[in-house]
Symmetry: C2
Subunit: 205 residues, 2 copies
């Protein structure tokens, strides 16, 4: 059975949606580990409440990003993690880390990538740009920011009375649908990556 | 009544959609002029068939882009043009030209801008990127490429068996809906530009 680790730095609403999908049996995998770089992240409480093992790693206690990541990898290997899910994790993973898990790290971005790639506030940037549609994107993580092959996207219409908060809520709502779905498809071995394209194989009968 | 000029270099399928919307009475404006920089553009034939005045301007006959554009502007002023519609016009207009018609030039781009901004083959680029959704964008032209305020967008889903031709057809289909609609809204005075945002005022009762 696939072992999953979720990395969070904050609220953990995507983590919550994943926990619930695992509990419902939608995702056939074990949520083995929740990692945070922020001791106060509410995500850690959500994990504990669901009896998921948690680890807090303080980046300031490591002399370099590589040392931090080596420690992280040791924990992941101990739990035999086969999929890493970034869910509001506010650190960029180095190529050293990413190369250890090729096409085994998911990220979610609150825009229709490649629109607003690299933005740290893609919801606000989309509003300020004046786009009529935005959305959410689940993608594999490669060595460039917000760049890897796209797994799933969902579209959200921006209405004239939308503000940052209302648009954020709409996009979060879609995230909470597609992130568990992407993990479910991965756990079922149904994602086929070819170059930049991700095909979804049909469910075997 | 608003006088419109459409600039084309090629096939003119968007021009055709606009001609038909004017003929149906959906767009309350006069299609006064079709301009081409390509003598062989089928768009010129479509215009002639609809009894619209056409002008072919050969850029090679002018010593500079500015001289070319000055001649163009003379024709536009003669016809008292209030809206310029770029429909497959393969030349970039200079800031000199654009500043003469602030928020009075439309362009259409076959993607959900800002995704694939500046691409000369946004349909192929979207396919190769592996996005799950693309679309079409009508925007005002400013001094940067594919950059001005967005008027209308429509979304197209990319399916696994789509190729460049099938995706192009889907996007063209949406273009032929939103380009006449954007012109209709402009002609009715219902587009309000504020910074980068374009609001659509309700139809007066």
């Amino acid at each position: 059975m696939l072992n999953i680790a979720v990395f969070c730095s904050g609220e953990g609403t995507n983590l919550q949606a994943i926990i619930e999908a695992v509990q419902r049996g939608d995702i056939k995998a074990r949520l083995s580990l929740v990692v945070s770089d922020n001791k106060e992240a509410p995500a850690l409480q959500r994990a504990k409440k669901a009896a998921v093992k948690t680890i807090f790693l303080d980046p300031q206690e490591f002399p370099s990003r590589e040392e931090f990541e080596k420690e992280l990898i040791a924990y992941l290997q101990e739990e035999n993690i086969g999929l890493i899910v970034l869910a509001g994790f506010m650190r960029v993973l180095s190529p050293f880390f990413v190369q250890k898990y090729p096409n085994k790290i998911f990220n979610i971005h609150p825009s229709l990538l490649p629109a607003f790639k690299g933005s740290t506030n893609a919801v606000r940037d989309a509003l300020n740009y004046g786009v009529k549609f935005s959305g959410a994107t689940v993608h594999f993580v490669d060595e460039k920011i917000d760049n890897g092959p796209i797994v799933l996207q969902r579209v959200v219409e921006i209405e004239e009375d939308d503000n940052e908060e209302s648009l954020r809520q709409k996009i979060h709502h879609q995230e909470h649908i597609i992130y568990p779905l992407a993990i479910k498809l991965f756990a079922e071995g149904r994602l086929k990556v070819k170059g930049r394209k991700v095909k979804i194989n049909p469910k075997p009968q």
